[in-house]
Amino acid sequence: MNSIHEDLTINDLDWQDRTFALFALEPSAELRTSLQRHGILSPPWIWQKPNGSRVIVDGFKRLFWARREGLKTFECLIFPQDYDPARLMIERAAVKLSGAPLNTAEKSQLIARLTDHLSQQELLRLYLPRLGIPAKPGAIGKWVRLAASPQELLTAAACDDICERAALQLADWEGESQKSMVALLKQLRCSSSIQCEILDRVKEIALRDSIRKEQVLTDPAITDIILDETVNHREKTQLVRARLYRRRYPRVAAREERFVRDMNAAGLPSNVKILPPPSFEGATWQLQLYFQNPQQLMEMLQDLKHSVRTGQFAALIRP
C-alpha cells in the first residue's frame, strides 16, 4: 500500500460520496462503548480522488460517530489519487471479511461492489465461501438484486427481522408486494423456516389465482389477524399460517376439519386416538391406545368393539 498516515479535519471529507459505502446499521453497543472510552483506535481509510475530494473508504461508523460528537480532526490512512479504486475496494473487502461477521445487507452490498472489479469466477471461488454463501451459479445475481433493494428490506435483513433466504427471495418481489411482506414478517418475528413457508404460500396462491402477491396479503382475514391486539406475535404467526394453508390447500384443509369434527362426534374415549393416513392418501388408518394395565386394555378393546360398529365410526373413516 502506498498510503500515508495523516491528520485530517472532519470537514475535509466528501460526506455525499458513497462509492465505498456498504449498508450499515448504527454502531454496535461494543463499538459505541469503545469509541466513547478510547476514541478512534483504528484509523479510517480515506481516498484522495483525482478531482481532489476526499472520500471515506473504510470507517464510516467511526467517522459518523466523530462528526456527531463534534470532533474536529482525526487520524487516517490516506490513499493517493493514483491509487486504483478497484484495488482499494478489494482491499476494503479483505478487511471486512477478516472482521466481525457481516449482516445480510452488508454481504449483499459487498458482493455488488465487488462485481464491478472482479470476475464472476473469482467472486464465486474466493469470496462467496468466505461469506458463508454456497458458490452456486446464479447466486451472485440474487445477492446483487438484494443489494439494490429498497431500504426497508435491507434494514429488516440487516437487523435479522428477515432471514437471509427470505430476503433473497423478497428481492425479486415487486414493490408493493415486497413492502407488504416485509411489514408482515417484521410483525410476526417468526423463524427462518416459517418465513420461507409464508413466502412460498403467498407466492403460490398469487400465481395460481393470477393475482398480485399484495392482494393475498391484504386478504381481510390476514389484516384482522395483524390488527388484533389481543394476540401476541406467536399466536399471530400461527393464525396467519393457518389462514394461508386453508387458502393454498382448501380441500385438504376442509377434509382435515371434517375429520376433527367426525372424531369428536364418534365419541371415542380420550385415551383412544385414530390417525388418518398422511394427507388422507391410501387406506391405512392407525389406532393409538393409551393404557396402564392389562385390565384397562381389555376394557378399552371391549368398548372399541362397540364403537367401531357405529355409524359415527364409519363416517370417521369414510373417504
Binding site: 403460490e204 396462491i205 400465481l207 395460481r208 393470477s210 393454498r248 390447500y249 382448501p250 380441500r251 385438504v252 377434509r255 398422511p278 394427507s279 388422507f280 392418501e281 391410501g282 387406506a283 373417504p319
Partner: protein, 361 residues
Amino acid sequence: MRNKPSKILVEEACRTSRLVEKLRRNLPAAQFEVVETISDSPLRDPRRLEVVQFRGRFLKSCPGTRHYFCCGYQILHFGVQCSLNCTYCILQAYLNHPNLRIFGNQEDLFRELRQELATHRERLYRIGTGEFTDSLLVDPWTEFSRDLVPFFAKQPNAVLELKTKTDFIDNLRDLDHRGHTLAAWSLNAAPIRRREETAATTIKQRLAAAKKVAQWGYKLAFHFDPMIEYPGWREGYREVLDRLFSSVDTSRIVWISLGAFRFMPELKPIIQRRHPGSTVIYGEFIRGLDGKLRYFRDIRVELYAWMVDRIREVDAHICVYLCMEGEDIWQQVFGFSPQERGGLPAMLDKAVETRMGIAPR
C-alpha cells in the same frame, strides 16, 4: 416440418448403422458429426439429435411402485428425451442429457425383443415405446416404425403401442401391421394443450391423425395423462371427449387411460425455472405413498369419476383404467378394485383379446 433435427451427432460405433443411413437420406441438409462417444452435457439444443450405442436392456418393465396399481406394460427403450418441451414433463429432470438421443444399435434391440418374446410364448406382451421419449417424434427421419410395426405383426403374443403427441403417422400407412399395433395419443383439454404443450400438435391435428390411422386398420388408444385441474376443467375435458368420440369409432379404441398430474418433488424447481409462466405445479398436491406429489385424493376422484361417466355415456364397454392409483381410488371411481378382476394387467390383456383378437396360444 416442426421439430426437424438439423445437427446429428453420431457415435463412431453407430456410424455405419442402418439408422444413420436412413437419417442421412431423410435429412440431407443436416450437419452430421461422428465422435468416439457422446458425453453427457447439460446444454440443451432442440435441433440436435444424438445417435448412441446403447449397452443396457432395451426391454424394461414400466416403473410402477408397489403402492399403486401398475398396468404391467413393457417399455421398449429405443431412445430418450423429447423436444416437445411440455411444461410438466418428467424428462426435464434428466439434466445430463437434455437432447434427443436415439439408440443406433437397433439390430441388438430386435435381437433382444425376439429372444424375450420367444422365451415366454404363454404370456401376452403389451409393449410401448412412449415412456422415455415420444414414439413418433423422430419417426419421419428414423423410419423406426417401418421396422417395428411389421416385426410385431409376426409376434403372436405381443402388441405394440406407439404413443405420441405428434401427427407423424405417414410411415404407418400401408404397413402390414396385422392388427398388432395400437396407435395412441396423449390428449388434454385444449387450454392445457395451448399453455403447457406449446410445441406439440393441436388436439384437432392429433384426432385427425387418429382418424386416419383407424382408416388404415390400426386400433387406437388414448391417454388423458396428465389430467390437470384448472378452472373450467370440466368444459375443457368434455370438449376434447366430444371431439374424440366424433372423430373415431369407439369400437377401434382398445383402452383409455386416466392419470392425474403427479411429479417428483425435484421437478418443481425445474419447472419454475424453465417455465415460469406455468401454474400446473400450484394445484393442491400432497406427497403420495411413492414420494411423488399428486393431487389430493378427492380431486383425483372428482377428475376421474367425471371422465369415466362421460366416457361410459358414449361406450359402456371401453376399457378405461387409472394409471398408478390405489385400491381406494379405484373403488370410489369404478366401484371395484382391479384385484377383483385378476389385476390391472389382466384387465388390459382382456381388452387386447376382446378388441384386438390377440391372445397367446
